[in-house]
Subunit: 404 residues, 4 copies
């Protein structure tokens, strides 16, 4: 057992850390001002930063070692980098490591046909276009995937999509060109062979962005979350990833690393929130003392630290399990981190907000928006309850002999 | 001991309840659509509803019995009405019972000169104008009132205001005409005689709305929260309420009933959230069961009910204490409710949001915005920590003989 | 709505309060020393105190007004007295208000035949004998009453009891003479007509105290909890209360007031724990400050106060509901208090223990034993989960129309 | 980063695991019965098991690699073994790894003179005698070590001890022969040079065991916790460990590994409690379902697993830090685990108890006694609050520049 990061990871930690500290964080207000002015455009500074990161080799770091095309990091080595990028919710894009592009790229790397790769993967890897993912639906409880109502019906050499998806993140981005749509293809097939994943150009006839959604009042421009209707959308059968009926299989493989990324980014967000909280708590005084020395504030700071350290170790171990046992072998542990990290982060950010007074809820600090994001993460990729259920099932299985 | 409301309260509960249920709640989407279209205007439906409520005698219900001018309810009788109005964050205005106008009117009723009353109070009582309150400051921890930096300096027959206030709620409203500004008048006076409360027309020279603030991502139009600068603002000495140096005294008296109102409104918001949660949990199914029957959901619904009932009783008792012992005699109990209710509501709303899936965070339901408001209430009128401190001090005082 | 106790209640509060403060609390160490020396005997001081309380008219206060035989208090009036007696776990006996005698007496008052009343009720009312209750069983989950395995089979003019009961509280007491035993009489009857309650002399042939149980290491002498086997125990049919098949009906009626009593006594225990905590926290110092001023201790003291006040109000309202709507009409609210109060008390006592350092876990303070009792109360008269289920069911029933 | 244990650790995990599973756990009832019969004697089975463990080389495993005399394990390698031994509170003795002997042996290994080592260390290492530690005092808040009142005054070639210590664990054991006593030697010396650690034979004149203490109701025989008075106890100056004035220095070094041990043992206790909880929850049914499928029970099982995994990783990392950076370099992290683990274990055990119904509080299961031990651990080696304070101080130090 060794708690040191590998030499390669340490090198990237230093480089990505320095980049975020020196190039990204100082430009936070510039970014926010640009987005406030023109929400659904990409501030030019983003392209500038992307070029810089790319030329520094800090690009596509997320691509798992065994796939190639990236710098060859394991999930365990990428995890601390995701944490650093996660400190600001727009920093990942600078390194071409933003979701859902990361998951989409990984899917195309693993399952994409050469044609799909050429058309969609290459520009994604270059950071020239962006993508979305159409999974969750407004009319049903999407925590149970068998509730999915959207259809992807094969018709000759085409596949026809119908239905309504929402929380399709990133569609607001002007560079978003493609959606990976998931729909029911064969209701009579075996439960895990019913669905297909289909590449749909954003501008395909019948695709309509009905509206942009808010999360706690935030539109999260320039990425945004959309409700999208699909009405008799026809795309060539070649756009189906790995062929009809393999949607679930692909989704499963995608979710392991994706949840590691989400969790580590969230830890980065929480770490930054705690830094803000400590600083504010030291800077401001009331009743003759720095805020941090009043009431239970020091205990809350300590509890935040304890929660953060524990959660990070749990995620790192899950990443290591994916690397050593595969996504399937790490399934329970991946559910575990998904159930732990967002709640932990909410609690840490809440402490930080409280130390800021009402300012913490305003746009003057990134805290409230971070809170909104972490609250959403209690649903994204499955609600807490589903993940707790996975963990409980695994726990109880060890004692099956005791069943009455 | 008797847990029945008085006959008078019961009558108003029935009437206000029916009004909210039949006239207000059904028009929620209309209101939201109007505000989305033109945020800083008052939707005409509001004027329509106000006229209806006024003609039904459901107007200025908040005015404490002993003051006159209202229907003559005690704090205990008004409390359940505040709860009902609080179900929607814009319903109180319909009954001319919205904050901070309620507190401002009460101050003017108790301390206002005949001239002040004629100029400001009468149109407020009629619902013709609205008002704001300038207390909290951006540069200091306002939880400690002695940190206040804004000044209100007497200069002949004028008083000169300088400083910066924020979270001045309601300034965005087109009808807002006056601000009650609090500032330091005499730094050498006894600690509770240093500050003054001054009536300032919104359009007085030197008053500048620097920007509107958001709470989470909400601008809370058409009310809004503003940061306002005061630069050499000169108003006649007659605009000082009750004369220079009485700011603290007035603030203290104002806060008791105001906190009852806030807490009861918040309980109404939480009740409505729980209703939404139960309905959604019954309507939607996953894994073959209504959501509410999965995992710990029923327990969470029950915990929400237990927390609501307890909190409501605590607030009602505090209202009764104000009625029977006065604001000062109820001070600890008022701090108690302020420390209890917002956190309780946040927990209840969080349960409701979780039962909604990601929809609960969107604008399709009032949950996330309610959450944002309740989170803000953990600061408004004093942060939790200050109120817990008041409760602890009172508790320990009973055992002073034990001090080492 | 009125939060004042009735004049009659206030008078008893003063009298019982003075008695406990002046006669009972000062003799705590004497009681503990006597029990330590001779656990299963009644310390003579108890008889002395009982005589004093009886002659002062502070006797059988628990008997509900409508039954007669007591001083005629409502549940709401008795509640604060139960709280005061509950401050010490042995004080209720002094006033002949200890469980399970109170419940047993109430059952006999309501359902007992004249012969049963003469033989058992009268000496119980006089405090000459004590009684136990045989309900819970070791082999099954007793939270579900239909699991009950013990039998009470009618055989001519006798009823024959077989089975094993445990947590029969009070059997260790030398004056315990009778057990109310509950068993299955007619498995084919309607679900609520299957069981009988039977009066069984402790020394009936076939009744065997198998062992005394501990709760967290405490034997709770001289009352104690026993595991008792019943082997072909034959008692006359006249010993069946209200006749065979009425066990459930009687149990239901018994539980409402009984839970009020338990909850109020527990609140008294928690109040006393908080007093101990405050005193210790003021008396002892570390790092140059009284303990109570370190870290989050003041906040925890305040949180304890908030929790206590809320829980008490909830119980008082449930008592009022029983008085005004009957046990059945108050069912949800009685479940509510049972789910709230023990957990609240555990939290308050835990805070008090922590303020005492390790001493708080020792026999030098009543805290750890109080904690053990409150932990047991999370099972006694139904586990938390069952009561939360009752509350949830009631809450959801209001929205049945929403069911998918 | 690698989450696999070393090969050496894995081998011991297998061997100690098999021993505990096959030799120790099956004899739990035999041990409890023996102690119930004759509390302050050592059941013969213990000597038998000790001999077996010793001959299997599972002996003194705790001794850190760099000291020699043991099998040469690092703290990180020993940690999982402590967890396994910790499953039963009396299992560590079987492997001569019980506290406070472990800490005392380590102190003598590091600081003992050859004479001290020959007289006390050798028989301790052989498991022939046992020892106690006299630190905490009844009259002061011992969380602040500067409160210590006991004295150890040099008088010629003797040192004279006076004072009163309590929670001296292990004195009840018939083999306990020596106490390490800590007292104030030179009040004028530098703060960390004032105290001495002195080896005192249990039967030295003036040493008096005043009474045995209980934790909750447990006497924890045959080890026990005592209050001990020291009245003019004279021992040779050679009995001072490392010479007068070095008490604090020795205490500091002792506490790092000791807290790792305590925390890992506690994790073992919690793991076993969770196993009990799962089994009971599957075995017993109510309302037609296994208990574990009712209400929020599965979520609580999952939460227990999440908490356990996180806490274990935190402790393992702290052990690794001690191995790689020394006790001083790991100070914050050691405080962190001490603040996390006992509370985590209490929560896990509480869940397990609740799944057992009232049986979980009785002596039929080890749960309540485990709970009592973990509750005590919130004080042993420093209360939670002190450790949270250490963590907070370290956290805030990173932001010192922000101080107002």
């Amino acid at each position: 057992m060794d708690f040191n990061h590998s030499a390669q990871a340490e090198r990237y930690i230093a480089e990505v850390g320095a980049f975020v500290r020196e190039e990204v964080e100082p430009r936070e207000h510039e970014f926010l001002a640009a987005v406030a002015k023109d929400p659904w455009a990409v501030p030019p500074m983003i392209d500038e930063l992307k070029a810089k990161a790319k030329s520094a080799g800090l690009w596509n770091l997320f691509i798992p070692k065994e796939i190639g095309r990236g710098p060859g990091l394991t999930n365990l080595e990428y995890a601390p980098l995701a944490e650093i990028m996660g400190r600001l919710n727009w920093a990942s894009e600078v390194f071409n490591c933003n979701a859902p592009d990361t998951g989409n790229m990984e899917v195309l790397l693993r399952y994409g046909s050469p044609e799909q790769q050429e058309r969609w993967l290459e520009p994604l890897l270059e950071g020239e276009i962006r993508s979305a993912f159409g999974m969750t639906e407004p009319q049903v409880a999407s925590s149970d995937a068998t509730n999915m109502e959207a259809t992807a019906v094969v018709d000759g050499d085409e596949i026809v999509l119908n239905g309504r998806k929402w929380w399709s993140t990133g569609i607001g981005h002007p560079d978003c060109e493609v959606i990976i749509f998931m729909g029911l293809t064969d209701p009579d097939a075996d439960a895990h062979r019913r669905h297909s994943m289909v590449l749909v150009p954003v501008d395909a006839p019948g695709v309509k962005v009905e509206r942009m959604l808010t999360v706690f009042g935030y539109d999260e421009a320039p990425y945004g979350h959309a409700e999208v209707s699909y009405t008799d959308v026809r795309v060539p059968l070649e756009n189906v990833i790995a062929g009809p009926g393999r949607g679930f299989e692909i989704a499963q493989g995608r979710l392991g690393p994706g949840r590691i990324h989400h969790c580590m980014r969230t830890i980065g967000l929480a770490e930054r929130a705690l830094e803000f909280g400590c600083r504010r708590g030291l800077e401001r005084s009331a009743f003759g003392k720095p805020l941090v020395d009043l009431g239970g504030n020091r205990e809350r700071v300590a509890e935040a630290r304890l929660a953060l350290e524990q959660a990070r170790l749990l995620v790192l171990r899950a990443a290591w399990l994916i690397d050593t046992k595969g996504v399937k072998g790490a399934r329970t542990e991946v559910s575990a981190i998904k159930a732990v990290v967002p709640k932990m982060a909410l609690s840490v950010i809440d402490t930080a907000m409280q130390l800021h007074g009402a300012a913490g809820l305003s746009g003057d600090f990134p805290l409230a928006e971070s809170y909104a994001w972490c609250r959403a993460l209690r649903f994204i990729d499955g609600p807490d309850e589903v993940h707790l259920g996975v963990v409980a099932r695994h726990e109880l299985k060890r004692h099956e002999g005791s069943r009455a």
